[in-house]
């Protein structure tokens, strides 16, 4: 059951196996990014051998996914990830078109990786950019209509990749214990990003008991300032200290801020609900400008729109909390932050995804 020699080693020398290229060409299943430019409108668009990428395909009865010829070895997998997150992502096309293409092709990279059970070091190297991609996509697309972008599915992929990465890290801890040495046996470069990804996992699952417990139980030397701040954020979130969460968030690396923005509707809802009881008074109001700042809204208009949504009243001076918070009102959709968007404008996306933001 644990025999390593049972695993197949792929031999496919291209990003896409020849068989699949042919098949998809014949059945006109090539993506626009995969055809020879100029032949898009032909009856049978031609496959551009340098640009076709193996697509994800579910395991199903009668399908052999373990043929070495259709599995890509590590070097090709790395090349594929780089191609997708460097070439494709910088393409001029529409973001969602790119997103759907990249997501599917990265999924197939992960599938090849799992089937071959490639070395942990390589899995770490492959997973890190994929995680950054899904984190970025979650933020970038959070205002899209559900028909265009399904945040749930993206989140599932993100969670899966994160958990897998954390398993790899755990293995290195295990090695360190069993070999009783921490003399750089686990190559440092593989683990240098670990506190960062641990924090990303923690914040992606903010307030979650399991995530907090995991952070608490990993070896203490991983508890860097970054991870400690992440822990404080998650614990403050549980304790209802929402202003503190927002304050700490501003000290976080960009990608982690982006991930936290997905939770902001939930956080703001809880905060307004609490304030509705605690600031309940007929004669008083809470200044909008201050709450806008504390809860990291882009503008007072956004705050007003949320208040309306939850049934809260406000006037020129501020919000009047009168215990009329609508308990059944669903949380609002996520919004992007204009601050973050401004930073993103000046940032090279491929660098962010491939090399991270620390």
């Amino acid at each position: 059951m644990l025999n390593l020699s049972n695993y197949i080693v792929g031999t496919c020398p291209h990003m896409c196996p020849i068989k699949e290229t042919k098949m998809r060409e014949n059945q006109r299943l090539l993506h626009i990014f995969e055809v020879v430019p100029g032949t898009e409108r032909d009856e049978l668009p031609k496959a551009d051998l340098n640009r076709v990428v193996k697509s994800f395909s579910r395991s199903a009865a009668g399908k052999n996914l373990t043929d070495p010829e259709i599995l890509r070895p590590v070097s090709i997998l790395l090349e594929t990830v780089n191609y997708l997150l460097d070439d494709i992502i910088n393409n001029e096309s529409d973001w969602l078109l790119k997103y759907n293409f990249i997501m599917d092709r990265l999924r197939s990279v992960r599938q090849d990786m799992v089937i071959q059970n490639i070395s942990r070091a390589h899995q770490i190297v492959i997973l890190q950019p994929i995680i950054r991609f899904h984190a970025y996509a979650a933020y970038r697309s959070c205002e899209e209509h559900i028909n265009e972008f399904d945040p749930h599915i993206n989140n599932i992929h993100l969670q899966e990749c994160l958990k897998r990465l954390l398993c790899m890290y755990d293995y290195y801890d295990h090695l360190e214990i069993t070999t009783k040495s921490n003399s750089g046996f686990s190559s440092d470069f593989l683990e240098e990003n670990r506190p960062y990804f641990e924090t990303l996992y923690l914040i992606f699952n903010i307030g979650d008991v399991d995530a907090i417990n995991r952070t608490l139980s990993i070896p203490k030397h991983w508890r860097t300032d970054l991870l400690v701040t992440g822990l404080k954020m998650s614990l403050s979130y549980v304790a209802g200290n929402y202003f503190k969460v927002c304050k700490l968030l501003q000290t976080m690396p960009l990608t982690i801020q982006m991930i936290m923005y997905l939770h902001m509707p939930k956080l703001r809802r809880l905060c307004l609900k609490t304030m509705d009881v605690a600031y309940n008074s007929k004669n008083l109001s809470y200044p909008k400008i201050i709450l806008t700042k504390l809860l990291l809204y882009n503008s007072e208009d956004e705050l007003e729109s949320d208040c309306k949504h939850y049934g809260l009243k406000f006037n020129e001076e501020g919000i009047c909390f009168l215990k009329d918070f609508q308990q059944d009102a669903k949380k609002v959709k996520s919004r992007r932050s204009s601050e973050i968007d401004k930073i993103l404008l000046d940032l090279d996306l491929s660098t962010l995804l491939l090399f991270g933001d620390i």
Binding site: C167, N241, Y242
Partner: protein
């Protein structure tokens, strides 16, 4: 146990099986029984000798038992696990064919807990597999579910012969697995099965204590503290007084749950069960609202809190410490309009990093939870508390 020949052992087994002596048979099939450590029982292929003394279906069980012992002797726990797992599956089939009788339940209890223990060893030994920590334990749980289904489906037998009475013992084993691999959500259907069982009140007391202990911990985990209090209190009060270790364990969870509900444990109880170091200062810190001491204790006992799985609930006690601190400020200032600044200064003096807005946020939570009666005026930066009973006793809150 003195040394015993395999032949003698097999004869005893044969007799106890025929006499339907579940307890005795169980002992002799246990990996933890004295016979297990003698090498003459550690046989990979025991069919030769076993078949001379035993007939079907017992022979198969014993062969698998010897095989499991053989691999344990070789320290190969993965193979030992496989053998034990086959044994349990095999037993489930035998049990299913035993209509209208339940004398063999003690055997099931023993082999089930053995399976779990071997699975734990195998899990520890398993090095190098890339993923799915807990995979073996999860498989063990599936195997136990096989027995559970046989028991649960036995609804034709009379009440005194029903195997359904065996459900709780298995559920407890499954709980132990699920808690270990952190899959608490899998407990839910089991709890439902037990709660709706007609035997709910007549399961053996020992099993009920274990069951309540785990359900109490699960409720605590789900932040359902009232229920956690009920279950854990039952477990604590009914746990046999000589099982001090278990009582201590129950108390580890019951104390923070009770504190969160506003009850303060007595020093004597903590002393009696040897958890005074971990908890007494904490009790003091919470009661006095001494957040500085609280933080120090969190630091000091961190690993104990983490390994016991109570770190989060202890962290939640902090809000009670805030309440007690704010109450002190209120009493000192002797006013119904407490300046937020005074509260913030109190926090600051105890090493808490909180600005005015964060202080208001803490008060807001206390008001929301009913722990303070009153409201906040942001414009005046004042907390206006009720003239009557502004800090109601925590035990009066539901």
């Amino acid at each position: 146990m003195a040394f015993m020949t395999v032949a003698h052992y097999l004869q005893i087994l044969e007799r106890s099986w025929k006499n339907q002596d579940g307890n005795k048979t169980a002992q002799f099939l246990s990996l933890r029984h004295d016979h297990a450590k003698f090498p003459n029982y550690q046989v990979e292929q025991a069919e030769g000798i076993v078949d001379k003394f035993l007939t079907s279906p017992l022979d198969e069980l014993v062969c698998l038992h010897f095989k499991c012992l053989f691999y344990i002797g070789k320290q190969d726990f993965l193979e030992a696990y496989q053998a034990q797992s086959t044994l349990v599956q095999c037993f489930a089939k035998i049990m299913q064919s035993q209509k209208e009788e339940n004398w063999s339940l003690p055997i099931m209890y023993i082999i089930a807990s053995d399976l779990r223990l071997v699975a734990q060893l195998a899990e520890k030994q398993r090095v190098g597999s890339t993923e799915n920590p807990g995979e073996i334990l999860e498989k063990a749980a599936e195997c136990l579910m096989g027995c559970f289904r046989v028991c649960a489906a036995d609804n034709r037998s009379a009440d005194e012969d029903t195997k359904r009475i065996g459900m709780l013992g298995l559920v407890n084993q499954l709980f132990k697995v699920y808690f270990r691999i952190n899959k608490l959500h899998l407990c839910k259907p089991l709890i439902r099965a037990i709660e709706s069982s007609q035997f709910k009140e007549i399961f053996p007391l020992g099993q009920q204590v274990t069951y309540r202990y785990f359900v109490g911990r699960k409720s605590m985990y789900d932040s359902n503290y009232k229920a956690a209090d009920e279950y854990l209190t039952y477990a604590f009060e009914n746990c046999h007084k000589t099982s001090r270790k278990n009582k201590k364990l129950i108390l580890t969870y019951l104390v923070p749950v009770k504190m969160l509900l506003g009850y303060i444990p007595s020093r004597q109880v903590l002393e009696k069960y040897g958890i005074v170091d971990e908890f007494w200062d904490l009790v003091k810190a919470v009661c006095q609202g001494n957040l500085k001491l609280f933080d120090e204790l969190m630091d000091k006992h961190e690993s104990f809190f983490i390994t016991s799985g109570i770190y989060l609930i202890i962290d939640k006690l902090k809000i009670i410490a805030y309440r007690n601190l704010f109450r002190k400020v209120y009493l000192i200032l002797n006013t119904h309009q407490i300046p937020v600044e005074s509260l913030q200064r109190a926090l600051e003096s105890l090493g808490q990093d909180a600005d005015l807005d964060e202080t208001e946020c803490l008060v807001a939570n206390l008001i929301y939870q009913g722990k303070i009666k009153g409201y906040i005026s942001h414009q005046h930066r004042k907390v206006v508390v009720s003239k009557q009973n502004p800090f109601p006793p925590l035990t009066s809150l539901s």
